[in-house]
Symmetry: C2
Subunit: 565 residues, 2 copies
Amino acid sequence: MSNKTKHLSALPLGGVGIIGTNMMVYDCDGDLIVVDAGVSFPDEAAPGTDVIVPDTRFLREHAKQIKAVFITHAHEDHIGAVGYLWDDFAGAPVYASALSQLVIQGKLQELGIQPKKGQLRTIQPKEANVVGPFSVEFVQVSHSVPECYALAITTHYGTIVHTGDYKFDDAAPFGQVTDEARFTEIGKEGVLAVFGDSTNVMNPNESGSEAPVIAHLTKLIDEAKGRVFFAAFASHFGRTFEVAKAAAKNGRKVCFLGRTINKFIAHSKVLGYWPKELNNWVIDAEEAAGLPAEKVFVFASGTQGEPGSSLTRLSQGADVRGLKIKQGDTVIMSSRMIPGNERGILNVVNGFYALGVNMINEENDRLTHVSGHPGAPEVKRMYKMLQPKYVIPVHGETRHLLAHGKLAAAEGYHPCQLKAGHKLILAEEGAKPDFKPYLSTKVYPHGFNYIDGLNILENDPLILKERKRLGYDGLIVASLAIKTTTGEWTSDVSLQTRGLIDEVLQADVMKSAVNKTGQALEAVFQNGRIDDRTRAAEVISQTLRRHFKHERGKQPATVVSFVEV
Amino acid sequence: MSNKTKHLSALPLGGVGIIGTNMMVYDCDGDLIVVDAGVSFPDEAAPGTDVIVPDTRFLREHAKQIKAVFITHAHEDHIGAVGYLWDDFAGAPVYASALSQLVIQGKLQELGIQPKKGQLRTIQPKEANVVGPFSVEFVQVSHSVPECYALAITTHYGTIVHTGDYKFDDAAPFGQVTDEARFTEIGKEGVLAVFGDSTNVMNPNESGSEAPVIAHLTKLIDEAKGRVFFAAFASHFGRTFEVAKAAAKNGRKVCFLGRTINKFIAHSKVLGYWPKELNNWVIDAEEAAGLPAEKVFVFASGTQGEPGSSLTRLSQGADVRGLKIKQGDTVIMSSRMIPGNERGILNVVNGFYALGVNMINEENDRLTHVSGHPGAPEVKRMYKMLQPKYVIPVHGETRHLLAHGKLAAAEGYHPCQLKAGHKLILAEEGAKPDFKPYLSTKVYPHGFNYIDGLNILENDPLILKERKRLGYDGLIVASLAIKTTTGEWTSDVSLQTRGLIDEVLQADVMKSAVNKTGQALEAVFQNGRIDDRTRAAEVISQTLRRHFKHERGKQPATVVSFVEV
């Protein structure tokens, strides 16, 4: 039984079966470390909520055992929940790179959280961070944000490599190439298990280098006649800086629109990533608006069609701080469509076409973007270095995880699939030589919660069901005054609707609703006294739902309010 | 001025700038014909609504001028609104193929509409249907539903070819190949303008024939070890029947799950499309559930991840009339993802993978589907036959329409872009030789309406704004009893929420909301009498919105109800 025997295990609290909300808990003989704390973004299943975070009841129930938290890199799906879940870390130290630290500090500040002194710890690659029975080394990998690391987690049971997000690219921004020498060494020292990125494993090709992308984007800017608007993920500022440098060489002043890109610019200045040659080229939007078209390069945020982003507003013809799209402008989207966002992105793209823009995006130009995740050949390349005993696919939807397992098996490795809420036991004290990893029969608390303003909505919340009902069917509110002493109702039921019908145009429907409700009450409470408020509310609700279903084909949500007089 | 001079013009009431809700009004010297009446499907911009239909105020305002309605084919984006908009046709005859007629009759029946005797008219290809100054010929084209036609619309100004949806395929189902001989003749007789399908014009290749798809699907079924579940668009029953025949040859009984496919099967029996060799092979779901796996082929509806469809429910592990997905089953999705549906479809795909299915869809097998719309080479092929003077792109989003115009110009034709709400004047009485088509300066009523139960929501309706607000931010209802005679309020405000907070867990927040509301009323109505109900409602709403914003980070929708006692 896994809980009584000393063991090494992994419990995914997110990121398995979903791309996003990454969080893994490794357990060595009862001591725990947490890797990443990411968010994902809600769809129409959770209207009005801000982000989705992992359900961390497990952490709260095992607070004393948490030795440390490790953050692999500064993407929201790995770092976005750090602030919201801060208290669940129970004061444990949080290890992250300098850039990730700045991002975390920003999140804590926004939430008014003051970390304990020394709780945030800056790591250096190749340094061993020892916490309890774990020794954790950050190994540099290329990705689409700087300072991205795999973790080599060594325990007395052996070494786990948690790859995080990675790719291979000799031309990675800021020279941050995947440290193949170190991975090869770690492989030689022996790797028990790899927990590996599955995002792009269904891609039979390598994800590709930044070099041809930068060269192509440079060429597009050189060729552009009018203003250039450029959109990319703000966190991928390595690419954006290269492109801005090319624009400056081309004689264009550069303007950065968007809160997130400007945060990353501030961080990049602190950390030395900022290219000094851009210093005299940066201007604000108002200034850009006054320059000749061929002198202007604008970074605009919003590659995913986000409502309210600079790019979306520009595509709608809006004036964004003095900038407005004109015929002959060039718009370059250096990004890909994340599944679920296609409709919003295509609306933006159509908007730009309608404004007479020279539109360049993945639909007509595949060279504007490469992924930061490994294709199948890169996954093989990583495992060839590491020679892991077990391959555990993470960071993927079901089909990615299964394809990853298949690929690992085809390469001669032993794949193991994780299961949400179950521990995967990788090694046990006193295990027999034929021991194989297995899933705990016990199911631990797991799932997803929603950040909703200052609330956290937990466990399939009723609140979201109510919102969906209201947003789908509309609402009718019925109020009635009742004499508290006798239960007599002293007025007609008073009705108000929202999102249901036009009360003025359909006054007859409203009037007959009032009449029917009164008749229904009289039929049930024949002595003219409401002696059961719950029953009366049911009678009113049911009458109104039936009435509007019959008259208008809609069954609204109902609120019945008795005012006691 | 286009309205006074006799002319030939086209007014798009839908289908331009959007794929869906197709409707074109052609005007010859004041006589009108309507081509198609399609729907599109609402997204989160119109929650709770059923379908989107064109705004037909123009038809109602010109009812007497409508000579006829022509339906090109039985796809919902061309035929779906015929029932909802029936009255707007003002009794004009509706010309359609036999299959389209059956589909229309079904829609009218559902809505309880009885067409006038003789109002529904069955067409024959190559026959001239003369209505007022128009002579309209249906010319057969291949597409992804049988009985699909282009229209050759001849007037004394010249001939317009309205292509509808089309492709070229020598192996089209039921031998319904595009009638190139007739198009060539029409071209020789002279074509003033083509209104052409733009959907796939950005595809540099031909859409491809059904033949290799059927061959490939047959091979997949031959190779399958367990049960085969097959999903395709129900209207594309030509493909489905071929695949079912292959399954029957393979010794599999065939079961058809889904209301729409069974409607089309009924139609196909009436019209002679049903393959008699399937007669002894069709079984119902309950029977299929009892057969050995290798004896079962199931058509399941729901290629777009529609909630509640057979395919979606099967992917969730549900029991659909006795059928439940088992490890080793094969699922083939013979379709493509329509933009906006990706997330739902991928959830279905992941669900099948998780159930251990041998999953075959466009992600891992491109041979399972071909489009019914012409790629660029097919558009050129059509225009080479027709030699139109003008090319007018329709049936596309902005980027498709512009790409179509570009392609036409590159081929030496004169493209003209339509604009929603504007007439395109194609010819005028007494025009000079250098006449060029132009858009009317007058803007005609146009837009999109929403079918919402038994309502039609028109013109950016407040109802949808209210629904979105409710669904996003939740609701608080405040009720208060007021003495009608004096304006005194006789109780605390009574509050109820929906989709906002947990009233039990956060009773303190609710209680302080009651207190603050009372205080705010006392501050404004210092004599204890509410002499202005509107003002009082504003005070209560504002107090509650501020309170919940501060306490919970959400500003709910508010309903204030005064009960007069």
